[in-house]
């Protein structure tokens, strides 16, 4: 008997033993000639099957389910959250006035440096949205997005220090959103309904609609799985560079900034974890995962362009 035949018999016995519920003896009776060789293997398979008795701890299961449902709801409402309606109307109006009329003044500075526990924080977020919208090029938006992601990490560390797990989770979602937007911008998927893109002049692609995202390879997990090839085939269109040298230079600068931010933020958040009370640690751990994975995705998206 060759190996292939034995592999088939072994598999047949495993199916009978593990799926159909036959006993070891019944299986062996079917193949008396191979019984001596099969017996120890089937016993080992039964031992391995014991590992299926592992089950998630009830508290982990409950926590995971809650966080997943939160993320699910977050995703479902993302479009509306990304709209202007997300901010209080007064904050949006104030932000637009501040950016357009008083840019560089003390009030803008005060809002820009405010933390989530400050009354000016809504103005800060709205101001960021205005800046993102008014930035004309994809590259400019990407650089700004990197800056905003970096701010979110500072805010997470700050609110963790205040012991506010709820705020840490909220800002973590904003961080995740900014890093995702960065990937979208880098990949040139400008057709998505992101507010900054909707309000900015559309990239001159020469087509009526944005090109569809190519289907992903199915043997890779996200982010590589979801990463289409770059759309930057014509320098100066989309990323806003004048020529290929500008484009490469911008990419390199953006990459250097992101590499530096990723490393710095990793240190900041991990250092914060050691000092925080237990009540904030789960939220902070989630922030660390989002930050590290997010920056990695962004850098992979940039590398895919090279």
């Amino acid at each position: 008997m060759n190996n292939k035949e034995f592999d088939n018999i072994l598999n047949e016995c495993l199916e009978r033993l593990l799926v159909k519920g036959e006993s070891l003896e019944q299986c062996l009776e079917r193949y008396p000639q191979q019984a001596a060789e099969l017996k120890p293997l089937l016993e080992t398979a039964l031992a391995a099957k014991e590992a299926s008795a592992i089950q998630p701890r009830p508290d982990f299961r409950a926590r995971a389910r809650y966080q997943f449902q939160s993320a699910l709801q977050e995703t479902a409402s993302r479009k509306s959250r990304l709209s202007w309606g997300w901010f209080p109307r007064w904050a949006t109006v104030v932000a637009i006035v501040l950016v357009l009329v008083l840019a560089g003044g003390g009030t803008v500075f005060a809002a820009e440096s405010s933390m989530p526990d400050s009354p000016l924080y809504s103005v800060k977020l709205a101001t960021e949205q205005v800046r993102l919208t008014l930035t004309p090029s994809q590259m400019g938006k990407a650089r700004l997005c990197a800056e905003l992601a970096d701010r979110r990490v500072t805010e997470i560390a700050y609110m963790a220090g205040k012991g506010d797990a709820g705020q840490v989770e909220l800002i973590t979602r904003r961080l995740d959103e900014k890093l995702e937007l960065l990937v979208v911008l880098i990949e040139g998927r400008g057709g998505l309904s992101l507010p900054g893109m909707l309000m900015a002049p559309p990239p001159d692609t020469g087509e009526a609609e944005a090109p569809p995202v190519p289907p992903p390879a199915e043997d890779t997990a996200p982010p590589p799985e979801a990463s289409p090839p770059a759309v930057i085939t014509e320098p100066g269109k989309g990323w806003g560079g004048k020529d290929a040298d500008d484009l490469d230079g911008n990419r390199v600068r953006l990459r250097n900034t992101l590499v530096s931010d990723a490393a710095h933020n990793r240190v900041v958040l991990r250092a914060a974890l050691d000092e925080m009370p237990e009540s904030v640690k789960p939220a902070l751990r989630r922030a660390i995962v989002v930050s590290e994975d997010g920056y990695e995705e962004v850098l992979e998206a940039l590398e895919a362009l090279e």
Partner: protein, 179 residues
């Protein structure tokens, strides 16, 4: 469970109920798969959670091309495990009692826990591909065809890996017993 393809299509449109059904269907299995792969039931918790968050983020990119949804999901879990080993190399923690099902009999639970720890420990001596097959077949309870879909291999190749994996596991278990 409702027809998986329609569930997945609904989940791709952010239907929360459909996504919740997929989550419940696969959560324990993905957790067990990761636990056997990394040999650490506590670390497997974070990874399992991340797998489902990644799935949520990228499900819109999933396309039906003859491969089942489970193959795609396990691929995400596989990549999460690869990433884990790339980033951290840690010693596995001992299993906690409440990680093991086994009724109300404390002695039975303890014995089962020891058996599982032996299997997890022995599984570390397998090759990556052998561990993948053993984990998918015996803890996630996938068929040979499903495992082949996840691993991108022929069913014959999976059967051969199953055979060599069980042999290697037996050898590792007997070494553990003699120690």
């Amino acid at each position: 469970m409702q027809d998986e393809e329609s569930l997945v299509r609904r989940a791709q449109k952010h239907d929360q109920e459909a996504f919740a059904q997929l989550y419940e269907e696969y959560f324990d299995r993905i957790y067990r798969y990761i636990t056997l792969k990394i040999g650490d039931a506590v670390e497997a918790e974070d990874l399992t959670q991340q797998v489902f968050l990644n799935t949520l983020r990228s499900i819109s990119s999933f396309k039906w091309r003859g491969k089942p949804f489970s193959a795609w999901l396990y691929r995400i879990a596989h990549n999460q495990v690869v990433d884990y080993f790339r980033k951290k190399r840690r010693t596995a923690m001992p299993l906690e009692e409440n990680l093991v099902s086994g009724g109300d009999n404390p002695q039975q639970v303890t014995e089962r826990k020891l058996d599982i720890e032996r299997v997890l420990s022995a599984a570390r001596h397998l090759t990556e591909a052998q561990r993948e097959v053993i984990s998918l077949r015996f803890t996630s309870e996938l068929s040979i065809a499903q495992v082949a879909g996840v691993m991108g291999k022929s069913q014959g190749a999976v059967k051969a890996l199953q055979h060599s994996g069980i042999v290697a596991l037996r050898k590792a278990l007997s070494v553990t017993e003699n120690e």
